[in-house]
């Protein structure tokens, strides 16, 4: 068991990500810019059961394309830094849009937890989410919080601790791209034979290639190993 872990908070803007970040880390945080860009990098930490958790607050994004600087920073941090667990913060009032991002995060094949935040606001609108069912669908743990009132934070910390200490961390979830699956597999096979597959999930590269992601196309073409922000 390690004595310190690094986790990353991902999520859409306005999902209450920053509030959750503050609720987790309290005053122990500092802000810098990612090298060379003006995107703010917030880092904080907390300890749970004698273990130190460093939390990186990723920029808020709706997806993980190469379109905007924020999205590039977010995915590059998850892939290149030693992130041991991704915590996706979800606005409970808007689950389906958040799931759009969840699929992309899951494709990065990192251990992940889903946090349904702002559960109270959802309830007010008559939305109740079945966490067990959702957890079953995505094959990852799901927690529910109201970060603004610091409800559910303890359970979440416990959940993070447990998840990160499980022997086999990565849960296999695969979104089925139907007819496209055949092409994805073909490309994946080709990429599997290259250096690149040592550093990035081959399936993810294949999907990104088919998405027309400029950065990934460059990467595959030139076989550059690190993604630059």
């Amino acid at each position: 068991m390690k004595s310190s872990y690094v986790i990353a908070l991902a999520g859409q803007p306005n999902s209450g990500k920053s509030t959750l970040f503050n609720a987790l880390t309290g005053a122990r945080q500092f802000v810098a810019n990612y090298p060379g860009v003006t995107v703010e990098k917030k880092t904080g930490y907390y300890t749970y059961d004698g273990t130190k958790f460093t939390v990186i607050d990723l920029p808020g994004t709706y997806s993980l394309t190469a379109f905007s600087l924020e999205e590039r920073v977010a995915r590059s941090v998850i892939l290149n830094d030693d992130i041991e667990l991704v915590v996706q913060v979800v606005d409970s009032t808007n689950l389906s849009r958040s799931l759009y991002l969840s699929f992309q995060l899951l494709e990065l094949e990192r251990p992940m937890i889903l946090v349904l935040n702002m559960a109270d606001a959802a309830k007010k609108r008559g939305i109740v989410i079945d966490t067990t069912k959702l957890s079953g669908e995505l094959n990852i743990p799901v927690y529910s919080t109201v970060a603004r009132k610091e409800i559910g934070i303890k359970d979440l910390k416990k959940g993070i601790f447990e998840e990160i200490n499980k022997p086999s961390k990565f849960k296999d979830f695969r979104l089925n791209y139907e007819e496209l699956e055949k092409s994805i597999e073909e490309i994946q096979k080709i990429i599997d034979d290259t250096e690149l597959s040592k550093y990035y999930p081959a399936r993810w590269l294949a999907i990104k290639y088919l998405e027309g992601d400029k950065e990934i196309k460059d990467l595959i073409e030139k076989e550059k190993v690190r993604i630059k922000i």
């Binding site: 306005n14 509030t19 379109f67 009032t93 389906s96 609108r125 008559g126 109740v128 080709i190």
Partner: protein
């Protein structure tokens, strides 16, 4: 990867598209959307209520076609009013704190000299002033950052962008460019620094850079005194019209420039399709807002203060070196001696006080003393003044008596004792003088020292009062007519000192690297109507635009009389050749002037060094071109300043409209 393998990948993609007649990226997005919806539905136990939420209701007003803009302008105006106007009011309370800091630093440094100040004093004070000039903006930032954080947290920021995007988009800007432009001074009086800082909210890189680059074209507060000065001299009859023209022309220039920049230098920069989510409104939490304010202020301080110290140091050397030269220095030193000699002659050698003021160094010390004394008694109660008086009396009794013009009060309780002491001392002194009359000088001096020491021992304060001059008591005021005589011409010396200091300083600036630059570019700038004096003052504005009027003031200082004359009168007297056309050219140049040092550095930290340099160079060229256009164009056409400016104004509006209509063919972006 080998070319053929890459081609193979392309083949796979093409095959799929051929078979399914749908681009792969669209298919991927579709599958994700479909599954997201499916899973969300499956896992949501929704008692779907179709009741309109609070957010929906509020959005009906805020995003309404007619009400929306009204609410928006009210909000923007509110922010401007609170952050810029009230913020500046707050600086009235904040500035004395910084002034105290400056005074504290000053007190640690060697005192000013009569003619010029010790290098270390003037250099450190210059740098400290540069830093405090920026720190002065902190109240504005506090309010601004808090308001911005509240708008972000509440969800209103997203709506602003939504409403304004349609107006700004044709010019390469973004809905969220509105706030930065407003803070920069949309009409009159803003500040580019908070404006540039506020661009952080813009997620579109190209629009963010375009905004950063045009915010300094707005009318920052420091440009205003310069406008006012020139308008009062040359456009007195139409001052309102001219003020309106100069303040609004910048908006059109900014829109045009940002369009041109986005079509050229910023072309390759990332631009994101305008996807805007309207988050539900919620009440921002105080903790979050405060946290963000502190974070941003701290980041600002760390970056700007360190760099500004460095750059203002460089500027100091540019303005002060190589100096006036030995020959001139000698002339100034002679003048300095003459001033002191005149003073001594005027007061007369029989007055003992002149021995405390008979060299430039002593005089400079005296001025320092007087300044400190006057500062410390300002706005103090009588009781406090009494205490301060005593302290200064003991510190330097002669300076104190001169500073008070030979008249000062003493606590009533002490008056009687002092009166007695004074009488006894005078008697003892005349006896001492009688008795020692026939002794030799050295013995006499020794005896006098003993005599003084014994009286000082008896009462230090009283002795300080009586040891020089002749004290008479009238009522509860002590008078020393000799000190009064010595103090009267001090004003004249101070005035003359100011004059030669200014002359010295001006000559130093004129002969400095910056001054040489001003003269060097005169052959070019004359087409814009700028002579070398104007050049220097415009160059000095690089540090801060507040400098322009100050530098013009020092350059146009007349020789003999003191500053009773208004600067505007001096300029119109000394520059008879100047016409409103000259003024119009200067004003447009000032309107488009590159950002001040602090703003430049902010640009450097927000956009990068390359853009910092760019934002220094392009406004200079543009402003100069416009100034030449106005000055040379007006000269050719024979039109007056106002007419020329009006023609120019409408040309700019025309260009803006044309640019707004021009839409480059963009590759269609599919999402």
């Amino acid at each position: 990867m080998k070319k053929e393998i890459f081609n193979k990948l392309q083949k796979i993609e093409e095959n799929y598209v051929k078979e399914n007649e749908i681009p792969t990226r669209v298919k991927i997005a579709e599958v994700r959307h479909f599954n997201a919806g499916k899973i969300a539905n499956k896992c949501t136990i929704g008692i779907k209520n179709n009741k309109k939420t609070f957010t929906d209701k509020l959005d009906n007003i805020i995003c309404n076609r007619f009400l929306g803009p009204i609410v928006l302008f009210a909000t923007l105006f509110g922010i401007y009013e609170l952050a810029i106007v009230q913020g500046y009011n707050l600086t009235n309370y904040w500035w004395p704190v910084l002034g105290g800091l400056q005074d504290f630093v000053e007190s640690l440094l060697p005192a000013e000299g009569f003619l010029s100040d010790p290098f270390i004093t003037s250099f450190i004070l210059w740098v400290v002033q540069g830093i405090t000039a920026v720190l002065n903006y902190i109240p504005i930032f506090l309010i601004l950052f808090a308001l911005v954080a509240i708008m972000e947290d509440s969800g209103y920021m997203a709506r602003i962008a939504f409403i304004l995007d349609r107006i700004f988009r044709p010019f390469g800007l973004h809905g969220q460019s509105a706030l930065p432009l407003l803070l920069g001074g949309l009409y009159v009086g803003g500040c580019a620094i908070p404006g540039i800082m506020a661009t952080r909210a813009i997620k579109d890189e190209r629009a963010r850079h375009a905004t950063i680059l045009v915010v300094p074209l707005m009318n920052c507060l420091a440009k205003i005194p310069f406008y006012v000065l020139l308008i009062n001299i040359f456009f007195f009859q139409v001052s309102g019209v001219m003020m309106f023209l100069i303040s609004t022309v910048t908006i059109f220039v900014a829109l045009s420039v940002s369009k041109i920049l986005s079509l050229t230098v910023l072309k390759k920069m990332d631009t994101s399709p305008f996807v805007m989510e309207m988050p539900p409104y919620h009440v921002p939490s105080v903790k979050n807002v405060l946290r963000r304010v502190v974070e941003r202020i701290w980041a600002f301080l760390k970056k700007v203060v360190t760099i500004i110290a460095l750059v203002s140091a460089v500027l100091y050397f540019l303005l002060n070196f190589p100096g006036v030269g030995k020959e001139s220095e000698k002339v100034y030193l002679q003048q300095e001696d003459t001033i002191i000699q005149d003073y001594v002659n005027g007061v007369g050698y029989e007055n003992p006080y002149i021995y405390f003021l008979n060299t430039p160094e002593k005089f400079a010390n005296y001025i320092d003393f007087e300044q400190n004394y006057k500062d410390s008694v300002r706005n103090k109660s009588d009781e406090e003044i009494e205490k301060i008086n005593k302290a200064y009396l003991i510190k330097n009794p002669e300076f104190f008596k001169i500073a008070t013009g030979g008249k000062f009060g003493l606590a009533e309780a002490e008056l009687e004792f002092f009166d007695q002491y004074n009488e006894d001392y005078s008697r003892a002194l005349s006896i001492f003088i009688d008795e020692t009359r026939n002794l030799d000088v050295l013995t006499r001096a020794d005896l006098f020292r003993e005599f003084s020491a014994s009286w000082e021992n008896a009462n230090q304060l009283y002795f300080s009062i009586v040891r020089t001059g002749k004290i008479t008591v009238s009522g509860n005021t002590l008078k020393d007519s000799l000190a009064t005589t010595a103090s009267k011409p001090v004003r004249t010396v101070e005035r003359e000192r100011k004059v030669i200091r200014k002359e010295y300083n001006d000559e130093k600036i004129e002969k400095s690297l910056m001054g040489s630059a001003g003269k060097f570019i005169e052959p070019v700038t004359k087409y814009a109507g700028f002579n070398w004096k104007v050049n220097i003052s415009l160059l000095s504005a690089l540090a801060a635009k507040e400098n322009t009027v100050a530098t013009l003031g020092s350059i146009y200082q007349s020789d003999s009389d003191e500053g009773s004359q208004e600067l505007s009168e001096k300029i119109s007297q000394q520059e008879e050749g100047w016409t409103p056309l000259h003024a119009a050219a200067m004003m447009i140049f000032m309107a488009l002037y590159p950002p001040c040092l602090a703003a430049l550095i902010t640009i450097g930290t927000e956009a990068g060094f390359k853009w910092m340099l760019f934002s220094l160079v392009y406004p200079t060229i543009l402003g100069f071109l416009f100034a030449v256009l106005i000055f040379s164009g007006g000269t050719l056409l024979g039109t007056t300043g106002l007419v020329t400016f009006l023609i120019f104004y409408f040309i700019i509006i025309g260009i803006t409209i044309l640019l707004g209509l021009y839409k480059p063919r963009l590759k269609k972006q599919k999402i």
